[in-house]
Symmetry: C2
Subunit: 144 residues, 2 copies
């Protein structure tokens, strides 16, 4: 479904949002450990998120990553997925055709359209804040 990079990106962002509640920043090392991801690779993904202003980073001691509560509420999964994986998951044709639409549908176009739009809607309506709250309340987990 999503690339590994995107999976790490989502997990990292959720963890950062979760830890940012106390106000202080989280370091790369802690993030990678908590979401069980390769450190250097996670660093690359976080760079993407930083460049796209999804997370906010500061170098040096006491530095690290952070996402304000307001931002966590505003940023939706949609944004992260689009930045890392592009729009093909929710916009692309199920069979990979470049030009596939209502007027020129591939064989599975109509079967797929509902699934893709509900996926898109879910991504568009799920905020980092929603997800980090679930971690907070012990409803969801980032490990195991």
């Amino acid at each position: 479904m999503f690339s590994k990079a995107c999976e790490y990106g989502i997990k990292a962002a959720v963890y950062i949002a979760y830890k940012s509640q106390t106000g202080d920043r989280v370091g790369l090392g802690e993030i990678a450990k908590e979401i069980k991801s390769p450190v250097a690779f996670t660093a690359k993904v976080l760079q993407q998120l930083t460049r796209n202003r999804i997370v906010d980073s500061v170098r040096g001691p006491t530095g690290g990553f952070r996402i304000s509560k307001e931002k966590a509420q505003r940023i939706k999964l949609f944004k992260i997925v689009t930045v890392i994986d592009g729009d093909s998951i929710y916009n692309g044709c199920g069979l990979g055709f470049r030009y596939c639409d209502e007027n020129n549908p591939c064989p599975i176009h109509h079967k797929f359209i509902h699934i893709r739009s509900s996926l898109k809607l879910m991504l568009e309506t799920t905020s980092l804040f929603d997800l980090s709250s679930d971690i907070n309340e012990g409803i969801a987990f980032l490990k195991k």
Copy 2:
């Protein structure tokens, strides 16, 4: 969503089902040309479909691939996808966790469960016959 191999597999199977209506077999060359896929790579995919008895192949002159009408009605997309890509699309966790379920959900588990199950249902209920009929009637296309 699906791998390239799986996309080619679905297209090839639909085309074979479509051409099998007249009774005669289709060769690899024609299939690859019609679905615009790399010939040798498509051959590998067709071998998988053949080994799993999704299509039926015969070597030598007048040989080629075929799918009987009965089989086209019986074979669902689900089978093809599972054989080529495995079950991770409809069974796997959205964030790639090995153990993610109702009792130990990842942050997006509940958001995803509906999408995954409707994808699975769609794959389970769409037969090759359905798809090839649409080609037949000019409702859907395999090219462009």
